[in-house]
Symmetry: none
Subunit: 409 residues, 2 copies
């Protein structure tokens, strides 16, 4: 069974609001084993809505609309769907009663235009709205299903869970279950190359890689009668992937790298201290986003200037002069100074050129040194990355997290 | 001129990511006076992409696609568009050169599949990608325009502003000009109440308030022949708003609060030091995102534990014991200790309970103290905010930035 979503509302076409309804419905439908093939958005325009609705009905088994069920003139969904399905709008007495009592309870007069919300396509299953005025409806007609829900997310979600979910569970036979693996240190194309035979010959489960800023995710999706059977299909695939590119794989549960690292530190009771220059607190900010990290993380230094590197961490002025603030030697002295001051199990220093200015031929923007001292082992990683200031800083934070992950493995 | 947007990527149909590209492009196109009639989303499926592309081309003057330009097998946009427009894919030598040097610079091998990114529809205007590998392109053919952009938001936005904006400005005749005012410290409904008569009686320009996490924006949009005439319509409206709610208005240019504050510090040559507890480096990270801030910001402390507050900033153990780490007294001693150590013009301390644990009846989650010492003036601000850990930390950072803004006004 496959499905098209149609979002109706001119405010979406203006980019004034983000279409979260589509995200919610897509997630729900996929979990129910219903393939979402299309998202469409149209404005409050009768002609274009009609045409898109017809296109969707021709190309999908089921169409779910959100929006356009309100009381005002530009709310056209009921009329347009009724016409497309060759049905009249008829009064739904219980809905009219609910509307009347709704306004009575609010002690507000009910406007004439509110009444039109109680007129629904003949033969529909009516969906009660427990969070607003507009009822929704389901039409099941000649092998096609149309489900029409209100636009406000709260009303839509309430109606979906209370009135639609069960209906769809009965319609759909399969479950779609997916797991997202996350990788760092390997590009999207390199990952695909490593897994090409698995991706090409995929049927069930399917594999889909996609790139996020500085990292790659791989979604493995299986279709089966239930979760347990779907997971049984996915498990051997994950094992094979682990054996091929396991060194880059940092999460099998779609977690953030910072979360994975913070959890490992907490689990292994490793204390950590940070001294950041070009990332200016970003790494600390990312780690402290994870609740409970105060068990392992006590303090950090942001040593942005040379004076701070010397004064707060004891980096020698001679080192700064001879090698520069962005150098292996400075990263090393930063992390050694940090260890001396804090005596944490793991110390991390970062120094680099985030740009846009400050680069030279010899030391271009994107050059970063990360010092890691775990127990008595000191390593300095050198990065040559690219992009604007925000990308370089973000990629540096991810690289540092990955270096921590490897150090404490 | 009207336009359809097509987002390509199965991850969107799974609801795994939010389609922010569509929001961005819709806003930009509307500003350029181009009507957005449709948003379409399809997966990485050749047949469905082809059909939707044809539908879009039949119903709109211009089609903008995002996604599917990557190096992997499921990236089908180039091929599908070329076929739909009856064009061959041909090697674009400068793009191949860029790809080669990109991988050379990274010191990574270039996979075979990367090469396909340099094959573009014959006769296209090629759009260089300054934030990634995939070039985009524009085809202007028999009265229809197709613009194809990469999917990662950063690459898409960079390419749009650098390569597409000017092209579209020439295509479109009317100008829609808008200014976004940003406020902190006033809620959306309170702002609307203050400006109700202006919002209700709007025609040209129009006023649209919208809430972002912890702040409110107000978009003022005018339609005119050119920027100068549009700005003449907007100017008196801004003046009126300034006279009513000017104390909350921190930017008339849609800037981030951190950017506004960093610029003021740089302009006024005020040096700043930070000591962060519950925000754990987030404030420093936000300030150091602004290029050039190294002129004013030299160093910061992340004093997450009591030991760090005592050891690094000299907060008295007696104070920590008597009043607790989250207290006016501790915030005060933190900022005084910071001043003593760093001697900056402006010192800021933050201590609070970000949750989810650690709250009590007396000191609930969301209680935060911000100490500000500017020259010889010391103030401690007390916040009682709500929400999850991420929201509390973000709101605390915004509040601290706003306190800095007010202190140096």
């Amino acid at each position: 069974m496959n499905c098209a979503l149609i979002s109706i509302g001119t405010e979406l076409l203006f980019g004034q609001i983000i279409n979260t309804n589509t995200v919610y419905l897509s997630q729900q439908l996929n979990t129910l084993g219903i393939n979402v093939y299309y998202h469409f958005t149209v404005g409050d325009n009768h002609q274009r809505l009609k045409e898109v609705l017809n296109y969707a009905l021709q190309n999908a088994d089921m169409v779910i609309t959100t929006g356009g069920l309100g009381p005002t003139q530009d709310d056209l969904t009921r009329e347009t769907i009724a016409k497309a399905m060759g049905k009249r709008l008829v009064l739904h007495a219980p809905s009219m009663k609910r509307l009347e009592s709704f306004f009575r309870d609010l002690n507000r007069p009910m406007c004439e235009n509110n009444k039109k919300q109680a007129y629904l396509p003949e033969g529909s299953i009516v969906l009660q709205n427990n969070n607003g005025t507009a009822p929704g409806f389901i039409i099941d007609h000649e092998g096609k299903v149309i489900i029409s829900l209100p636009g406000p997310p709260k009303e839509m979600m309430g109606m979906f869970t209370e009135g639609v979910m069960e209906y769809l569970q009965e319609k759909s036979k399969a479950t779609i279950y997916s797991r997202v693996l996350r990788f760092f240190g390997i590009g999207e194309s390199a990952l695909e190359t490593e897994l090409l035979d698995m991706i090409s010959n995929q049927e069930n489960p399917t594999l889909a890689p996609y790139a996020k800023e500085g990292e790659v995710s791989l979604r493995i999706t299986a279709k089966a009668e239930n979760d347990v059977k779907a997971m049984a299909l996915i498990k051997p695939v994950i094992e094979e992937i682990r054996s091929r590119v396991g060194e880059y794989l940092y999460s099998e549960q779609d977690e953030e790298l910072a979360e994975v690292v913070a959890k490992q530190l907490m689990e292994k009771q490793i204390t950590i201290s940070l001294a950041e220059s070009c990332t200016g607190g970003l790494l600390a900010g990312r780690l402290t986003a994870v609740p409970g990290i105060s068990k392992c993380f006590y303090s950090g230094y942001i040593t942005y200037s040379n004076e701070a590197k010397a004064g707060m961490l004891g980096v020698k002025n001679a080192t700064l002069e001879k090698y520069g603030a962005v150098s292996e030697e400075t990263a090393k002295e930063m992390v050694m100074g940090l260890r001396k001051k804090q005596n944490s199990d793991l110390c991390v220093s970062i120094t680099g050129i985030a740009g846009p200015d400050g680069g030279t031929d010899e030391k271009p923007v994107g050059l970063v040194y990360i010092g890691i001292m775990y127990k008595e082992q000191l390593t300095v990683h050198r990065l040559n990355t690219f992009g604007d200031r925000a990308r370089i800083r973000n990629y540096t934070v991810l690289s540092a997290l990955n270096a921590i992950r490897n150090a404490i493995k």
